[in-house]
């Protein structure tokens, strides 16, 4: 729910109090000033949560940290457990950050929220570097993760030739081979489990804290909420429109380049 709407509605009730007559000088200027103060703060807060540029920056700073930490977490897991996670890296580069075949995506949702999903990227390296056999298994990560059986059939040659247990096997012409668990039995759903573990554990909270958004937000928010000089001086009448414009300016100044 966007809480800025009831906030704006509540603060709009202060508009009438922001204009006072000079008959009761002391009291009415105070009421007008306090009303202007509350109205200004409400404007800043409500504008902030509905400001597209701020929302994007807010999401970006948190997502970037999660993206970095998650990828490093998977890298470490892959180095420690290569049998389970080799499939989400290019061949012979398990745990190497430059060889990842996965990436996180961000989907913006209501308010300041966003959801995260992952996708596998195509492999671009040769499955084997031996002899003349040069094959790129493009969907390596997604097929192995799903544990889909593979049927390997000759396309450019008459027969399949491969090595197993130190022996070279020559298949009959046109015959195919079925691999029941490509990548090994350990890889099936292992990335999904690693992903799930990161996002259901304390690790994602650690990552959000580490993003530093709280400090940056607090610092910028304090700056934006600093009252305009006009409200701090004794006045009997304040223009809601002027305060609204000042709130816009304060937000632009506080968050413009700070994040």
């Amino acid at each position: 729910m966007d809480y800025s709407i009831p906030l704006v509605q509540a603060s709009s009730g202060l508009r009438s109090l922001m204009t006072a007559s000079k008959g009761k000088v002391f009291k009415e200027s105070l009421v007008a000033q306090i009303s202007a103060y509350v109205y200004y703060n409400a404007q800043v807060v409500s504008k902030l949560s509905s400001n597209a540029a701020f929302k994007n920056k807010f999401r970006e700073i948190i997502f970037n940290q999660i993206d970095k930490d998650f990828a490093e977490f998977v890298d470490a897991q892959a180095r420690v457990k290569p049998k389970s996670l080799h499939h989400v890296y290019e061949w012979r580069q398990t745990g190497d950050p430059s060889a990842r075949l996965f990436k996180l995506n961000k989907l913006n949702t209501e308010g300041l929220g966003f959801s995260v999903s992952y996708e596998f990227m195509p492999s671009k390296t040769f499955a084997s570097t031996e002899g003349n056999r040069r094959h790129v298994f493009t969907k390596k990560a997604s097929v192995m993760e799903a544990g889909m059986p593979l049927k390997i059939a000759p396309r450019h040659s008459k027969r399949l030739v491969f090595e197993t247990n130190g022996y070279t096997v020559f298949m009959p012409e046109g015959a195919s081979v079925t691999v029941k668990s490509p990548g090994g039995a350990s890889v099936r759903n292992s990335f999904m489990m690693t992903y799930s573990r990161f996002f259901k554990s304390n690790l994602v909270n650690v990552s959000i804290r580490k993003s530093g958004f709280q400090q940056l937000f607090n610092k910028s928010m304090s700056k934006a909420l600093k009252l305009p000089a006009e409200i701090r001086t004794v006045k009997y009448s304040f223009s809601p429109n002027t305060l609204s414009v000042q709130a816009d300016a304060a937000l632009a100044s506080a968050f413009g380049g700070a994040l």
């Binding site: 490093e72 049998k83 554990s201 304390n202 650690v206």
Partner: protein, 171 residues
């Protein structure tokens, strides 16, 4: 004087862990005697596990570790590091024992760091731990990696600094 860049906080942590687990009887050093090397092997390994090592460790509990990430913020003297420990054992209760030990040892943040700093053999001239805590711990489950073993992950997050000269460089 030449700076020794081989020094690593993770190795200091490993040294401390091993000392504590021997003292508490969680590991028996004699069980890891290698006739080939003529010495005991510490069963807390970095990620590079050779097939020979797997054979040596057949059926024996051991820990594999790696750094997840290292980061410096604007306060560049303090490093934050996450370290992943994966505990393997054929006995479910042995993993739980190590998990409980790690929680007891490392959940106290500054106090846990103090214990490491004043432990015997700690390189206090070069390192100082400021805080350490258990960032995450997975349930104990059958290992997909090593058949016949159970495993559990323990992630520690440590904040430490390394002794520097007046220019902020390692000494």
């Amino acid at each position: 004087m030449t700076v020794n860049y081989k020094l690593d906080s993770m190795l200091e942590l490993r040294k401390y862990l091993w000392g504590r687990m021997i003292t508490l009887g969680i590991f028996d050093a004699d069980a890891y005697w290698s006739d080939n090397l003529g010495e005991s092997i510490i069963p807390i390994f970095p990620v590079q596990q050779t097939p020979e090592m797997n054979q040596f460790l057949s059926g024996k509990k051991h820990i594999v570790y790696d750094k997840i990430g290292v980061s410096y913020d604007t306060l560049w003297l303090i490093c934050t590091e996450q370290i992943l420990f994966t505990v393997y054992s054929t006995d479910f209760s042995e993993i739980n024992e190590i998990r409980n030990f790690m929680i007891d040892e490392f959940r106290r943040m500054d106090e846990s760091a103090k214990d490491i700093n004043k432990s015997a053999g700690f390189n206090s001239e070069k390192f100082k731990f400021h805080s350490i805590y258990v960032a995450d711990m997975s349930p104990t489950a059958p290992s997909e990696e090593l058949q016949g073993f159970y495993s559990a992950d323990i992630i520690l997050e440590a904040q430490y600094s390394r002794s520097t000269n007046s220019s902020g460089r390692y000494i």
